[in-house]
Every structure is written in structure tokens, then in C-alpha cells.
Symmetry: C2
Subunit: 185 residues, 2 copies
Amino acid sequence: NVAHGLAWSFYIGYLKLVLPKLEDMIDRYRTQHKLSILGHRDSWRLHILLPLNAFIPDKLEDADNHVNFCGNLPEIIKDRAGVRRRSYKQSVYSILDQLGKPYHCVVEYATPLQTLYQMSQDSSAGLSMEDRRQQVLLFYQTLQDILEKSVECRNRYRLILLDDEGDQDPHFLSKEILKELQQEE
Amino acid sequence: NVAHGLAWSFYIGYLKLVLPKLEDMIDRYRTQHKLSILGHRDSWRLHILLPLNAFIPDKLEDADNHVNFCGNLPEIIKDRAGVRRRSYKQSVYSILDQLGKPYHCVVEYATPLQTLYQMSQDSSAGLSMEDRRQQVLLFYQTLQDILEKSVECRNRYRLILLDDEGDQDPHFLSKEILKELQQEE
Ligand SMILES: Nc1nc(=O)c2ncn([C@@H]3O[C@@H]4COP(=O)(O)O[C@H]5[C@@H](O)[C@H](n6cnc7c(N)ncnc76)O[C@@H]5COP(=O)(O)O[C@@H]3[C@@H]4O)c2[nH]1
């Protein structure tokens, strides 16, 4: 069950490290850039996008041009497993609503789903396209369970499951993210 | 089978990206620092340490004080899954032999094994200490199979499996790395 291990790895090797420091990083970012964006502390969370088809572009703009990169949060630097000063950082985006009004948030795709996608493309990996969808759901459920029990990560994340409607609507992604942000405000 | 997914993730999310550029990075490092270290192109590989007990310190010096950090190779910067300008780099170490002569190489532990270790410490992860050892071997075998078939990674890595003698000998790690380096020269 590939997704079980990938969810644990995402938690242990990334979320557990970065989520506890996220509020500080957002605070420093706003101060450094003298910004009044991200005014609602309720949305000071890492919004994690989980597309059911595991198809993940490297730039959010390629999924929806209403999503635009603003800047990176200050990085966390940590010695990890012999790699000195490994860098971890998240990106801030502005999301335009249908009227062109921008909302800001820290958002990214769940990187391990790229592994699932590429495994399904490689016949020697033993993961079919049908299995892949099931594994995305298992990843989502496992991650949800882990994060709910995690004291370090409480209230610092939002998991956003995305179904395939996105293929029809060029602004599906921005609308889905805005639904979440509007619940947070 | 957690290790199967972790091996694919290590390949797809890291080795496939960094190994093809490794020779260039070592070349630039030697040029920038005007160094004659790393004189044997045969050792221009990423030496990947796989301890059977999955116990991985974040600093190699903590495992063996004959292993010393020299510097980081130039970084690779890549947009990944919505994180802009994510940084990837490897560390160069000098390894002292029993006579105090230094040999240099690019080396690190296989980071995903830290996930296995921490999962075995967390009762909700469903991985016992006995399973963990088996999973390390499965990780090693899966990674070996993937890398042997990978055109992009050919000859750019060395997998070094480490058993537990390390607990007895404070210079076990340096000796094991030197055995590999001496075969390469
Ligand atoms: N968004 C995001 N930003 C990050 O900085 C980051 N770092 C890790 N991860 C994801 O968390 C999980 C745990 O990471 P781990 O380091 O144990 O495994 C990593 C690690 O063994 C190796 N790797 C990736 N990036 C680096 C790196 N910069 N240096 C060394 N090793 C790396 O390849 C594995 C897979 O990486 P990703 O496929 O990017 O996803 C990882 C993984 O799902 C990240 N996700």
C-alpha cells in the first residue's frame, strides 16, 4: 500500500517540520514586505491540494491563470541525514475571484502524489491507473488521520481534495481554493 | 509495503533530478574552490548510506568523527508541485583513513529511511521494529532494481548497505565508505 507510506513520509519528513513554524514565517513575510494581505489568521494554514487523478503541474499558474505566485515565505534550514543546510519553504499565491478581487494564501500540491502519478506511468512500478485513484484516496485518509492526532500540526493545514471537473473549467482550481478561504474568513 | 513506495519516491522525487547533473556540479565545485580533491572521476557519484537499523543521524560527524563536512555542491533550483524555486544540493565530506589521510566524496544517508525509523517508533503507524529491518532490505532491493534500469542515473550512484557493527566501532562509517572509495580508485 504505497499511499500509506507516502502519507507517513509526507508527515514525518515535511509537515511535522514546517507546520509548527508556519505562523511565524507568515508573520515575518508580512512584516518584511510591509503587507496587509493574509489579514485573517484563520487562513494562516498550508493549503494542500490533492487532485484525485494525481496529475500535478509544477506551477499552479499552469492549472489556472487566476492563481498567481507572490513570493516565498522565509525558508527553514536544517541538516538532514547528512545533507547540510537543506532548505524548506512554502509559496504565497494570490487567487482571483470571478470579479478579479485577489485573496492570498499559502498553497501547494501534495508532492508525494507526483510519485504516484509517475509510478502509474512506469510499467515496472506495478501501479495501474485504476489503483492510482484508490491510492490517492488512501493517501488523503491516512494523512487526515495522522494530522488529526498531531499536536504539532493542529489547525495549521487544510487538505483540499480535487475531483476531475478541473478538466472542464479553466478556473476550477481558483474556485475550489476560494471556497476554502471563504470558509476560513 | 511501505519501502516499495519510499524507494520509488526517492528515485522519482530526487535521484532522477539530481544524479544526471551531479558530474557538472562536482566539476563546478572543484573549479569554484580551485580544488584538486575528488581527482578520480570514478568516485564522482552520490554515495548513499543505507543502515540496516534505519537509524540516521542528521550529521555524519555524529556517527564518526573521521567524517567531516567540507562544503555543499552548487544547488539545483526547480519549481515543484507549486513550491517555487525548491532547492536541491548534496554535501561533500572528507573521510580520514586510519593514518589520518583524507579522501573526499559526495555522501549522504538515504533520507526515506528516517521515515521508516520514525514509523517504527509511532504505534499508530503499524510498523514493528522487526518489520523495519525487512523494509530496509526491501528499500535497498527496490532502489537497486530501479536504478539499474535508469538511463539517467547510470554510474552516478553507489548504494552502501551498513549493518549494525557500527555500534561497536566509532570509525565503522569512515571505514565502510573508504572500502567503497578504494574500489573506485
Ligand atoms: N513540498 C515539499 N517541499 C519540500 O521541501 C519537501 N521535502 C520533502 N518533501 C516531501 O516530504 C516527504 C518526505 O521527504 P523526505 O525528505 O523524507 O524524502 C525525500 C528525500 O529522501 C528525497 N529528497 C527530496 N528533496 C530532497 C532534497 N532537497 N535533498 C535531499 N533529499 C531530497 O526525495 C524524497 C521524496 O521527495 P518528494 O517527492 O519531494 O516528497 C517529499 C516526501 O514525500 C517536501 N515537499
